[in-house]
Structures are given as C-alpha cells and as structure tokens.
Amino acid sequence: MKNMKKITCICLILTAIVLTFTGCNNNEVPVIGILQYGEHASLDNCREGFIQGLLDSGLEEGKDFNIDYQNAGFDDAIATQIAQTFSSKNVALMCGIATPAATACFAAAEDKDIPVVFTAVTDPVIAKLDKGNITGTSDKLPVDAQLDLIRRIQPNADTIGIIYTTSEPNSVSAIAEYQEKAPAYNFSLEVIGVSQQSEVTLAVDRLIAKGVDCFSNLTDNNVVGVLPSILEKTNEAGIPVYGSEVEQVKLGCVAAAGIDYYELGKQTGAMAAKILKGEKKASEIPYETISEYGIYVNKDALAKMGLTLPEDIAQKAIEVKNE
C-alpha cells in the first residue's frame, strides 16, 4: 500500500515533468524569452515598452515572434534556471530586464551564443555586459538634470538628503556621481546607506532630524519599495521629495528629472527587432543610454509643499497625477 502511494507519486511527478516539457515550442515562430528580475512598476513598463518597440518596428506577434515571459521574483537562483530554460528551448533572443536578469541570460546564452538584449541596466560596463553577442539600453540617471531641477524649484535649498542601499551597484555609482556634481549646483549632500529595507524609515527620521531641505531618490529598489511610507513622514515634516522616474512622481514625489521606462523599453524593442530581422548582430550594436529625459511634476504635491514651478520648466514638464 505504502509502495503504491510512492510509485503513484513518482509517476505523477514524472508525467507532469514530461507534459510540461513536451508541450513547449513546437511551431516555427521565433520565440523571444523575456526574463524580468521581479514584479516592479518600472520594470513592467520596460517590458511593455519592449513589446511595443517590436511591434512598432513592423513585426507581428504570433507571426514574426512569440513572447515567453518569465519573472524571477527577485531570486537569483530562479533567474538562472529561467535563463537556462530559454537556452534549452532554443529561443531566438533573450531579453533581460534589470542587471541580475541580464547577467543570468548572458551566462545561459554562452553555450549557443544566443543574442541577448538588456534593459534597465545602469552600468553595462561594470556589469560586463558590453562585450559579446549582447546589446541593450542603460537606465543611467540624469544626475545633472535632477540637480538643476531641484535648484530651480528650491533656489534657497542647501542640503539634499539621499538614502541608498549599499549593496546595489546602481545606487553606489549614482551616489558617487551626486557627490561629484552637487558642489557645482551649491548643494551639500547628506547621504545614508542602508543594508536592508527595514532600515529605510529609520534613515528618513535621521535625515529629517538633520534638517535637510529636500530628499532626492535614486532608482534604489529597497528605498523605492517603501516610498509611500517615506512620503508620509516627509509630508508631515514639510520636506519635498524628488523622484528619479515617472512612477515615483505618481506616488507623490514633487518632481523628477528621469527616464521613462516605457520609452526605454521601446528603444530596446527596436534594437531587438533589428537583430530578429537579421539586419544586425547584437555584437555589432553598441549599448545605448537614453539621451532624452523627461521632467515630471506632480502639481498637488508641489502645492502641498508651497512650491511653484518656474515658467520655463512648467512648459516642458509633463504633469502627473497621484495614483
């Protein structure tokens, strides 16, 4: 009886495995494997933009390509397995969204030299994603534009407070750039590094106590993840928070000079389309940084802080409402 149970169990598992594996990828349409590192508004925008970019290049879903979308839930080991699955299924192209996903794709693609396209990678050179059958787009922050924006909106501000996670390379390199460029705009910085999300709110309290004139956010996953609770505290203290991309402004940051991840994804999709059509190889296309950044403002949040937009900025800024 006991053995029966065990045998049934093993049979069930084996059939499940065989069924899942044989069911996949029988048609001739090239498959694009998209590996997104985790569920996150900006990364979702990247993915949607990426698919739009493919469509805009004249490719048709179902006829010219099919999408196999997988999400690693911020787990590196799962990202590895997903990327290997793509390689086993002989996908025509892999798209890695965020640095760990791109790294996993690139490692899995080594054997068969499958082209890899990445997006939302801040520094492809440090991440060693700049050489080989790979290309993509970088989401490096426009730090100069952000500092300029803050100076224009708050002409009398002295200190900018920034919280970042010390283990996120994107944030570390952004902080270095802030420190290098802030003096040129007559700002001093109060920077607090944290190692995990639960420390972020403590850091907010410390920055408020130190009397910073405003906060500026990076695209730091830990910090952005608890943005609503940060804003609760800063709103009470009457300190404006500047975001680094449109989703943060939607959450209630006063303004941001940042990239639009949807646009970034579209740009990436166009690159992928060139590779799929056989016009160019991934190794022949250098990675791109978005040169155009948008200025996003949240009028409600600005009004709450008693801030007004200079006329010229108001004209080019894109208004975003609270969501």
């Binding site: 006991k2 911020f74 080989g132």
Partner: protein, 298 residues
C-alpha cells in the same frame, strides 16, 4: 526532444551544484541537530571569493580548495561563538551570517561579474582536454557530477571514521560522547567547519557557472538546504541502503526539478513559490512522511 534533454540536463546541473550546500546543511541540521544559519552568509562568501579570484586570473581549479578553506573559517567562527562564548546555536549562526554580509561586500566591492574571456572550471584547459568535444552544457553536467559524487563519497568515508561516528553521536546522544571522555564542543566545531566549507564550495561552483556574485544570492539558502534535506531523507526513510548523502543529493535535484516544472507550466510568475510549496507538500505526503498514518491503514 533535444530541448527536453537540455532542460533535464540544466536541472540536473543546478541540483548537483546546490547538493554541496545540502550536504552541508545535512551535517549541521540532520546529524548535529544544529540549526546553522551561517549558510546564508557562507554561500555568497564562496561566490565572492571565487569572483574576485577569477577576475584576477587565478587558476580556476585553485578556487575550489581556497573557497573550501575560507568557508571552513566561517564555520569555525560560528562554532567558536557557540561553543567558546556560549551563545545559543541559532544566534551564533545569525551573528556570523550578519557579519558575512558586510565581509562579502568588502571582498567583492559590490556585485561582481566575471567576463566571458576568463576561464572557469568548465572552460579551463584540463577540462577542455578531456571533454573539449562536448557542448558547454554537457561539460557542465560532467564536471558538476564528478564534484557532487566525489564529495558525497568523501563524506560517506568520513562518517565511517572514529571522528565521523563521534559527530553522529553528538546529535543523537551527546551524553554518550561526554562519557567517552570526548569534548562534544570540539566535535560540533568540526561539523560546522566541514559543513560551511561545503556550502562555500557550492557558492564557488555557482559563481563559476553563473559568472557572477551578488550580495543577495545567499538569501533563503538555509531554507533551500532544509527543504532538500527533509525531502531527501523522508523519501528514502524506509530504504536503509540509501545513504543520507545520496538522499540529500536526490532531494536537491528534486527541488530544482520542482522549480523547473513550475517555470515550464508557464503559470503566473507570482505564483511560483506557491506552486513549489504545493509540490513539496505532495512529495512529503506521498513520500509516506507519517509512519503512524501508514500503520493505521495497514
């Protein structure tokens, strides 16, 4: 069906690499009865050291003994904190794990990637001389298989030595060890040293395979290790001829296969962990986990 074969191969590779970590958890959790959380730190420690060594063009095969040695030091730290300072087992592991988070970042600087031009144990000259004709994925399979089996056999041999028997006695009946006039503290430390050396080695191979180190890669590895040990040992509970190490090796492969099934089913990504939980439950329930229940049926 070529794709299917590769999927199985890929899953086997992952299972065998992480089996080294499972061996380590097997020693502490199952044999010593010591819930060792150092694993979450010593696993990325192995990867951090390997990433730094590889990017500095150290011979890839040398990274294996080096990570074994440094992982051993991590285990030694937990052991000393627990035995000599009298800190509780869970806390001793937490302290070392927490310290290792910073130490790993200090070693690697930040998340680190090994460029493709650098040779790993899968692409180094001796491997190529022996297996050069195979595609990379099968080379990886052979190399990880050899490593997983060699360490399994070494452990099996060790468990038969006098020292190994004492190790098992500490977990089962520590009073006995004391009556034999042996210091059970020293034996616990030896167990932790061996365990964390293996865990770090697992991190090392992951770094060779993935060509990267990330500071968060250790998160949840203890849970993974515990799951594989429990899956493996319960599945083969009634088969005495299957050694604990073998059971754990199979447990690790099964765990990775579960993830593979969940991924391949193409279910919503956010449900991945839930599906894995259900699969584990199925294994545990059908694997006749409850001896009592079976007796009632009989």
């Amino acid at each position: 069906m070529g794709g299917f074969l590769e999927l199985v191969t890929g899953t086997l590779i992952q299972g065998m690499i992480y089996a080294l970590l499972s061996y380590g958890v097997y020693i502490t959790y199952k044999i010593l009865d010591f819930p060792d959380l150092t694993v979450d730190g010593s696993f990325p420690l192995g990867a951090a050291i390997t990433a730094v060594l590889l990017t500095n063009n150290v011979n890839p095969y040398l990274t294996l003994p080096i990570t074994l040695a440094i992982g051993a030091i991590a285990g030694l730290a937990t052991g000393l904190i627990h035995v000599k300072l009298g800190i509780r087992d869970l806390l001793a592991g937490i302290i070392t794990m927490t310290a290792l988070f910073s130490i790993n970042l200090q070693i690697a600087g930040s998340n680190l990637v090994v460029p493709r031009s650098v040779d790993t144990i899968f692409t180094g000259a001796p491997t190529m001389a022996l297996l050069g004709k195979m595609p990379l994925i099968y080379r990886k399979l052979v190399v990880t298989f050899i490593i997983a089996i060699v360490f399994k056999l070494l452990l099996d041999l060790y468990f038969k030595t006098k020292n190994g028997l004492l190790l098992r006695a500490v977990g089962d009946n520590s009073v006995l060890v004391t009556t034999l006039a042996k210091d059970k503290g020293v034996i616990k430390i030896i167990g932790l040293v061996i365990s964390n050396a293996l865990v770090a080695l697992s991190g090392c191979i992951v770094c060779h395979e993935q060509r990267s180190f990330s500071s968060t890669m250790g998160t949840g590895q203890v849970v993974f290790g515990l799951a594989t040990v429990i899956i493996g040992t319960t599945l083969f509970k009634n088969y005495d001829f299957v050694k604990g190490t073998t059971a754990v090796l199979i447990g690790s492969i099964l765990y990775k296969a579960c993830i593979q099934v969940a991924i391949s089913l193409g279910l919503p990504a956010n449900l991945l962990k839930l599906i894995m939980a259900v699969l584990f439950l199925a294994i545990l329930v059908f694997g006749s986990y409850q001896k009592g229940a079976v007796k009632d049926n009989a």
